[in-house]
């Protein structure tokens, strides 16, 4: 077997595993395929199949709706409270699915990581992509519910995809961060479960921020980007008379705090993931 000088490709130093890098087309199709497979498998073998993706937030909604409108009159005075409740539950479900899925995702794909060369970032991204499919399905249900409840369609709905994008960036940032931390510290799993529970109550899901003291809300909004996203969602989608996120936090400039937090989490997650990526396979 002789190879002519022209045909022989140049020797390239193999760089070992990395978070990004390599053939982009393959990385994308790999990510997509992992997400689709994950999504397909999740409800595989259950009788109702995909319907369960919808059922879980709907069940939660049903219980909370009953408690907070019939038992404790919580939603009184809030326009389209049931729609608000359902939308925020669905959005929070996405956040919780992406981040808690992110915790164990590298562990779950150990087989791939140890046997195959591919950009490592495909794994956490595929987790959040698969959660995004769920979100998409759930939003269809939310839309139907909103129509039945008589929510008028407004031009400001166009803000909604942008809000989802912010939420996704925040969630993916955490997914990257948690996935590599979990490889080193198994304590992350229970810690994150608790953090998610706290976040659920610390975000305006069951309640709306306008019901709370202004100073407290400002601090909450600054610390919790989810609160900012949900508040803006209420203004844009359900009730134009409800305060915008900027109004609630005090000023446009102060809005940069939660936005900066999202950017920070995403950047830190990406940085840490990239730093750890070459050794993931060995540390698992």
């Amino acid at each position: 077997m002789s190879v002519t000088a022209e045909a022989a490709p140049a020797a390239v130093q193999s760089r070992g595993p990395s978070a990004l890098g390599g053939d982009l087309r393959r990385a994308l199709s790999l990510t997509w395929m992992l997400a689709v497979t994950d999504f397909k498998l999740r409800y595989f073998g259950s009788v109702l199949g995909y319907l369960w993706t919808l059922m879980r937030p709907l069940m939660l909604f049903g219980v909370l709706y009953f408690v907070f409108t019939q038992v404790i009159k919580f939603g009184e005075g809030v326009e389209y409270y049931p729609v608000y409740l359902l939308t925020s539950i669905v959005l929070f479900t996405y956040f919780s699915e992406t981040t808690s899925g992110g915790v164990g995702c590298l562990m779950a794909r150990e087989n791939l990581l140890r046997k195959m060369h591919f950009p490592r970032i495909a794994i956490p991204i595929s987790v959040s992509l698969s959660a995004l499919f769920n979100l998409g399905l759930n939003l269809v249900a939310v839309f139907v519910f909103a129509m039945i409840s008589g929510v008028p369609i407004r031009l400001s709905w166009l803000q909604f995809p942008f809000l989802v994008l912010l939420l996704a960036a925040f969630a993916i940032g955490f997914a990257m961060l948690l996935s590599v931390l979990y490889v080193r510290f198994r304590d992350i799993q229970p810690i994150w479960d608790v953090v998610l529970q706290i976040t659920f109550y610390a975000s305006p899901i069951l309640y709306v921020v306008s019901a709370l003291p202004a100073q407290f809300v400002r601090e909450m909004m600054a610390a919790n980007p989810l609160a900012t996203i949900l508040t803006q969602m209420r203004h844009a989608v359900l009730d134009p008379s409800a305060p915008t996120a900027a109004e609630t936090i005090g000023s446009d400039v102060r809005l940069l705090i939660p936005l900066g937090l999202i950017v920070l989490v995403f950047a830190f997650g990406l940085w840490l993931f990239t730093r750890e990526a070459p050794r993931i396979a060995e540390n698992l």
């Binding site: 077997m1 130093q13 497979t37 791939l112």
Partner: protein, 374 residues
């Protein structure tokens, strides 16, 4: 990382150290060694799954991305889905994967089970499926970890043929295995690792016998027996040639003989003691260590007396009707009753027999076939 001052006790394990080698394009390269010797780690470093702490790995051309068959196979999915997933992991597009699907299934001989979930497959069946997908890879360098451990004999033969095809296409294959027969059969060169260090690199036969030494200790001394009461004789040289071909150079222990030609297996023996009627024998074993053909001089009557210091040139002439494979020749000299081995050369010569067609048997004897209608 979170606790910069946290003290950790650990002992360092160097999985590989001072391992340096080149593999030429189109070469079939074997990596052998005992469990834990660093074979798989080395393969992972080559594949870019592990980074190297020191040193470098240079690769020319495209590398196959994974090192094991059926990576990412999911037991809950059907063969159809798994093939698509696996092919995409290999770097094929979804379209290519669907186009080649029938070919893959046909190669794996799993047409009847296409829609069966993989969890209901036998381990051999899923390995077949994995192999069938893996050979579709469009890479210049293939890395393979222990592929032939599973699979029945007929499928193994199919894999062997496929390896021959890949080899003929000029693909470079790096192959980790415990099977010395596969090393002898396919590899152009091989490397022996032991505790992360490279013990030897070179001809497959040499490496295979070194591997046996590492595993079981040195098998036997090649020199003449010096135990008291045992007659001393020494095989100076063993070679194999065609009837009218030249005697191979010393050190050249491979021979190729066309099927149907006369083959001559020779040995040169020196006697240090007078020996009465010694028995000379040759044994051919094939790539799976089955003894295919044995010839002994006592079948033809006594060989007579040899004086001390006398030499004997022994020639075994036979028509070569062996099937396509790689054989090893072991020569031996025994006492007249055949009970005591005075000296032997185990696997002294590698004999290659190459034919166009393969019957599947171990010998292809000249045969006339008559079909009569009655």
């Amino acid at each position: 990382m979170l606790h910069p001052r946290r003290s950790r006790t650990f002992s360092e394990l160097r999985a590989l150290e001072d391992v340096s080698f080149d593999i030429a394009p189109g070469e079939f390269f074997g990596i052998v060694g005992r469990n834990g010797s660093g074979k798989s780690t080395l393969l992972k470093c080559l594949a870019g799954i592990y980074g190297v702490d020191a040193g470098r790995v240079d690769v020319r051309g495209r590398l196959s991305p994974f090192i094991e068959l059926g990576v990412g196979f999911h037991p809950e999915l059907s063969a159809r889905d798994n093939v698509t997933i696996n092919a995409i992991m290999l770097g094929l597009t979804r379209k290519q994967a669907l186009e080649r699907f029938d070919e893959i299934i046909a190669f794996a001989e799993l047409e009847e089970f296409v829609d069966l979930k993989l969890k209901n497959y036998s381990s051999g069946m899923s390995v077949r499926l994995g192999f069938a997908v893996a050979i579709q890879v469009d890479a210049d360098v293939l890395l393979v970890d222990e592929v032939l451990a599973v699979g029945d004999a007929s499928f193994q033969q199919k894999c062997f043929d496929e390896f021959d095809r890949l080899k003929a296409e000029g693909r470079t294959i790096v192959f980790v295995t415990h099977g010395m027969d596969a090393v002898r059969r396919f590899c152009d060169r091989a490397m022996l690792l032991e505790r992360g260090e490279m013990i030897d690199i070179g001809k497959p036969d040499t490496i295979a016998s070194k591997y046996a030494e590492v595993n079981f200790g040195k098998v036997g001394d090649d020199g003449p027996s010096s135990a008291p009461g045992v007659l001393r004789a020494r095989i100076k040289r063993t070679w194999c040639a065609t009837a009218d071909g030249p005697v191979p150079e010393i050190g050249d222990d491979t021979a190729t003989v066309a099927q149907g030609d006369e083959c001559v297996a020779c040995m040169e023996v020196e006697f240090s003691d007078p020996v009465e009627d010694p028995v000379f024998s040759i044994t051919f074993r094939n790539d799976v260590r089955h003894t295919i053909y044995v010839a002994r001089s006592d079948r033809g009557g006594p060989t007579g007396a040899f004086a001390a210091g006398q030499r004997a040139n022994v020639k075994f002439r036979f028509p070569n009707w062996l099937a396509h494979s790689v054989y090893t020749l072991t020569s031996a000299v025994l006492t007249s009753n055949g009970r005591v081995t005075l000296d032997q050369h185990v696997d002294a010569v590698t004999l290659r027999v190459e034919t166009e067609r393969r019957s599947g048997g171990v010998a292809e004897l000249p045969t006339t076939i008559e079909v009569e209608r009655s």
